[in-house]
Point group: C2
């Protein structure tokens, strides 16, 4: 049995305490400086206010002020901080880790290098840790459709753990796997990270298609609900995710599997990215839509900004062609102009033409 530290007490990180506890591991939930209240409630009565339920009784909670104690003797770390907290998190870990430990991150994210290359969050995390003087830890990624509340309800969830070091993802997969948390180990880190990040961005136009359908005149007198436009966007979205993974030189099979199509499907079933899209589609400006969703982090916007930064380099080196990315082009224009215009259906599926 292993000793796990979950670093960050958000819903996704905290939900992993269920399979870990059920498997008999020793679990420590460690809050960041922003998680004081959550950790307080877990300490006081075992209740997690984000998940709206009690954590397994065996989970030990630690405040931000108890870091040394919390990390002492840990075998691995599950990083539950969000993508904006990766550098901060690396600096913190550099101080408390005295030897290399495997880290697995629930966070999804992409950054753009100067030349346009996409950088997976795992790479960014590893580099930030080294820069901060920490030990050389290997950071693994989790991908696949997994809503935290469902995992915490011990519902069936299927995910992929990816590490370039196969022995690490296999070891972690064996640690976490239960009868309801189905984990496949993989070495395909970049395809996983690209699919996981992009599916958030590509959920936005699915929401826009739905929102535009609810416009006056958009719904029909016969009661026809407009599923066709959202479905066409979904098809083109899968296509662009696949194209971007392959163009960047990686195996594109995840695009039509769990971390691509599967995760994209669940993201389009609800959540923040879909909601923002629906508001934009209903005619609200980006400023109005964001105001209506005040205080909510919307991952799709930072992914779109990353892709906008990456594109000049990718285009210049002829790694991608813009006519294969009509939705990405539309998303960048939507963010830049602050409102959603008509979806470019006629530009979809350019590779089908013959």
């Amino acid at each position: 049995m292993a000793t796990a530290v979950i670093f960050g007490a958000g819903v996704m990180g905290s939900a992993t305490s269920f399979p870990l506890s059920d498997k008999g591991h020793s679990v420590r939930l460690v809050g960041t400086h922003l998680d004081g209240e959550i950790i307080g409630e877990v300490k006081a009565r075992g209740y997690h206010p984000g998940l709206k339920k009690n954590l397994p009784a065996e989970v030990k909670a630690f405040q931000w002020t108890e870091l040394d104690k919390a990390f002492h003797g840990a075998d691995f770390i599950l990083s539950g901080v969000n993508s904006h907290g990766v550098r901060w998190s690396a600096e913190t870990l550099a101080k408390v880790l005295h030897k290399p430990l495997p880290i697995i991150a629930v966070t999804k994210g992409l950054e753009a290098a100067e030349n346009g290359d996409l950088l997976a969050l795992t790479t960014v995390y590893e580099k930030a840790l080294a820069t901060a003087g920490g030990p050389g830890c290997s950071v693994s990624a989790i991908g696949g459709p997994c809503i935290a509340a469902e995992l915490a309800a011990r519902g069936h969830s299927c995910v992929v753990f990816a590490s370039e070091k196969g022995e690490i993802s296999r070891w972690l997969a064996d640690i976490f796997r239960t009868s309801y948390y189905h984990v496949w180990p993989s070495t395909e880190v970049y395809p996983l990270e690209i699919a996981a990040a992009l599916k958030n961005a590509y959920t936005l136009p699915v929401g826009i298609a739905r929102g535009q359908a609810d416009q006056p005149g958009g719904e029909d007198s016969s009661g026809a609900r407009m599923h066709n436009p959202a479905a066409a966007v979904f098809g083109q979205g899968v296509k662009e995710i696949k194209y971007l993974i392959r163009s960047c030189g990686f195996n594109d099979s995840f695009a039509s599997s769990l971390p691509g199509a599967g995760d994209y499907y669940v993201t389009c079933a609800g959540g923040r990215n879909l909601r923002l899209g629906t508001l934009l589609g209903s005619g609200k400006s980006m400023a109005e839509a964001q105001k209506e969703m005040e205080g909510v982090t919307i991952e799709s916007l930072s992914i779109i900004e990353t892709m906008e930064r990456a594109l000049p380099g990718l285009l210049e080196r002829q790694i991608v062609a813009m006519d294969r990315l009509p939705l990405l082009d539309y998303l960048i224009r939507t963010v830049r102009e602050g409102s959603a215009g008509p979806l470019p259906f006629e530009r979809f599926f350019p590779e089908i033409h013959f």
Copy 2:
């Protein structure tokens, strides 16, 4: 401008009268012997009871007794009969067609040859027409997410027209294409037909996953709705559709595009196949579920039966391996046993293992 005959007055066939009329073509809607009432209403007041709205004023309606007049001078035929009516339809067309005309079928379907090879409905249609002594017509297929009522509401719909004869699918695409009916021509008939047929079958387990989640104990006290299982099934479904297309020797790119993932997405948003799955997942037997849906044709069941007939030949010739098709295996057992057991999550994604 062309003269189009829509043969069969069901909702999908009849809905194509909107783009055809908007494009200025002459449109004749011809009922089968089962469509007497529908054609009567269209003749009397232009109203289509299935679509719950008036057809374009220019559409001329013909009863089953007026076949010769209806087909006289036609340039092409849109076949709107369902998959069970293909042989009957071919025999009828053989009597009224005096020269080869392009036929485009909205119907989806697969049949299994003796050796297990999958036969596209277009091939079955062409052969049935020749067997019945008709002229040598080329039959094209339509694929992609297109709910009839939405097309009839002139909502954006994206579809692929496929014919092995490229000049025919290009000609037909140009005939139908409007500002809201986006049509891509293709020569990939079999990939289109396989994706279009299988997505119906693979919607059943998505429904089962949803139905099982609504079981007592399936939903959580915290209110967690169970999207993760359905999303994992969706991911594995796309994977198996892709695997079957590729294994049968065809280009698998449609699996992760409009006719695969896109159409699968919209089918999972509602409809008969999802409903049957949800009933099965809620614990009802196949007999009870079908009784509850009495009178409704459920395409997924005949596709699953076709795949059951095809599998022995495909396995014997090592064209497919059963461990790559856990959902299909589950679906065949579900139909055979008449009830839905636990979904085989642990058997999903066998190709990710390393």
